[in-house]
């Protein structure tokens, strides 16, 4: 796997993690 592929894979995995965190945060904010 080249550096370009590694870059996009890490970026998108980070986006997935950020999305899960943001979803949990938004849900907590709107449900309390």
């Amino acid at each position: 796997m080249g550096r370009a592929a590694g870059y996009w894979l890490l970026l998108q995995l980070a986006a997935v993690a950020a999305g899960i965190w943001a979803g949990a945060l938004v849900h907590r904010l709107v449900s309390t």
Partner: protein
């Protein structure tokens, strides 16, 4: 593993778009997952709003935002994510969105089907729905993992090769202009306008112009 340097620095704007749209899609999925859990925890159905009837089971606070925001926000974000990654020919996790949706909801159906909020026995309708959702999410997942991994592994960051435009072929060189020039020179020579030396030099020049450089 073959490490190869990326030929170009990653584009900042594309990176931001990919990050924001994918994070938005996952955020929406998470909201939908958590929102449906709250509804299932009170029996699986609820109602909200002003209506000329008595609502027996009002929805938990934030359910509307979580469920509807999750569905429509997710559709928008997944659409934009697909657009960006397709246009830029980037490897993407789009194929995992559908399995993630159905498998996460299947988890809810299994969890609440086995341990229903009312406390009595398993809810078979939810368990059956869970099995259906596992099939709906799991089968596409089997066909998604390989192509997605190959798309990332084979990505080099290089733009698709553009076809090299071939040089247009040179027009066929015909002997007609050459013959005409030589005939005119010969006429001038015969008429005495050019002497032998001048005629020879002019003829060589005409013939020399006809040769390849």
């Amino acid at each position: 593993m073959h490490i190869r340097a990326a030929p170009h620095p990653p584009p900042l704007r594309a990176s931001l778009w990919v990050f924001v749209t994918l994070a938005g899609a996952v955020c929406a999925l998470t909201l939908l997952f958590l929102g449906t859990r709250e509804v299932m925890a009170i029996g699986g159905a609820c109602a909200d709003g002003n209506a000329p009837y008595v609502i027996a089971r009002p929805c938990p606070k934030g359910t509307f935002v979580s469920v509807f925001g999750g569905v429509f926000g997710g559709l928008v974000c997944v659409g934009l994510y697909t657009l960006v990654t397709t246009q830029r020919r980037l490897p993407a996790l789009t194929g995992f969105v559908w399995p993630a949706l159905f498998l996460s909801l299947a988890w809810n159906f299994f969890e609440f089907g086995l341990r229903p909020p009312a406390g009595d026995g398993p809810v078979w309708a939810w368990l059956l729905t869970g099995v259906l959702f596992v099939a709906l999410g799991g089968v596409p997942l089997l066909f998604t993992v390989g192509p997605t991994l190959r798309a990332f592994a084979g990505f080099t960051g290089e733009a698709a090769p553009t076809p090299v435009r071939a040089r247009p072929p040179a027009p066929p060189r015909t002997a007609a202009p050459l013959v005409g020039a030589l005939e005119r020179l010969a006429e001038l020579h015969r008429a005495g306008v050019l002497d032998d030396a001048e005629f020879g030099a002019a003829r060589r020049r005409v013939l020399g112009e006809g040769e390849e450089p």
